[in-house]
């Protein structure tokens, strides 16, 4: 997923922002995304749920043990996930709200989820017959 007229996806932004300070953790997250995409599917056990509002599907990919890198996603069953961005959650904080960057990224993914849900209700977005993708008006702007 990319925002407005950005030239990069949110996942690329996440990798770019963390690959220097948290190289092995970032690589581990990407490897797990590959496994999810090609081997296991997006099973709920791989995600920390309830990172957003009830029922909005916002979750975070579990971090590697002893690592605190958070990647926010929106799960639609086990077949379709929208990958957002995230950041490092320092060990010194307990709640994401204590970190400005994480709070912003979490608010962004919750807003994306809200807009997608609204468009599904308005029948502007539909699942493809195999439930592997969305089809319809998938361009979102800040004005929305």
């Amino acid at each position: 997923m990319a925002l407005n007229n950005d030239e990069e996806t949110l996942l690329n932004k996440f990798v770019r922002e963390n690959e220097i300070s948290f190289k092995s953790e970032t690589k581990d997250i990407v490897k797990r995304l590959i496994s999810i995409g090609h081997t296991t599917g997006a099973r709920s056990q791989f995600f920390k749920e309830w990172e957003g509002k009830p029922g909005d599907g916002v979750c975070a990919l579990y971090d590697k043990p002893y690592s605190n890198l958070r990647l926010y996603c929106i799960c639609y069953g086990t077949q379709l996930i929208i990958i957002g961005s995230g950041g490092h959650k320092p060990k010194t904080i307990r709640a994401l709200q204590e970190d400005k960057k994480l709070t912003e990224e979490n608010a962004l993914i919750k807003e994306i989820s809200r807009q997608i849900t609204q468009r599904i209700k308005d029948k502007e977005i539909r699942f493809t017959p195999d439930y592997l993708d969305f089809t319809g008006d998938l361009s979102f702007n800040d004005e929305d």
């Binding site: 990319a2 950005d6 030239e7 990069e8 996806t9 996942l11 690329n12 990798v15 770019r16 690959e19 970032t26 690589k27 581990d28 990407v30 490897k31 797990r32 590959i34 496994s35 999810i36 081997t39 296991t40 099973r43 056990q45 791989f46 579990y62 971090d63 590697k64 043990p65």
Partner: protein
């Protein structure tokens, strides 16, 4: 279709070797197998924690997250409590193949409308096991 400048992601992807990816796949698949075995037994995380003699539920969550690098000891314990195979040591244990021979006698009634009454399975040690089955409805 729009194209994006995903240089950082593509660069990282190019660094991931098939061997590295295979390790991650294995961890994720082990987690799936454990979760499916728990589901088959109707167990939740707390039950598995108790059966494994653990005291911290977050440890079970980590096992199921696909991030855990399991020790052989833990895998053997999981095999025992969940009654599944996680380590395939079949070939290493024995190179001999065991062949068991069974003779199955099926009693079929003359009247096709009647239900199949029984079948006899004679095992190698000549102990007859009587199976009453209903195959046709």
């Amino acid at each position: 279709m729009e194209t994006y400048n995903d240089e950082a992601l593509n660069s990282l992807l190019s660094e991931i070797t098939p061997e590295e990816q295979a390790k991650t796949d294995a961890k994720m698949l082990l987690a799936v197998k454990i979760a499916e075995a728990m589901q088959a037994k109707g167990w939740n995380k707390t039950r598995l924690m108790k059966e494994m003699g653990k005291s911290n539920p977050s440890e079970i969550t980590r096992w199921l997250s696909g991030t855990q690098n399991f020790t052989v000891d833990t895998l053997v314990d999981l095999e025992r409590v969940l009654e599944i195979k996680l380590l395939d040591l079949g070939e290493a244990k024995s190179t001999e193949k065991t062949i068991r021979q069974y003779k199955i006698d099926i009693v079929v009634p003359f009247n096709r409308n009647e239900k199949l009454s029984a079948c006899l399975v004679s095992e190698p040690d000549d102990v007859y096991t009587y199976y009453k089955q209903t195959i046709y409805s």
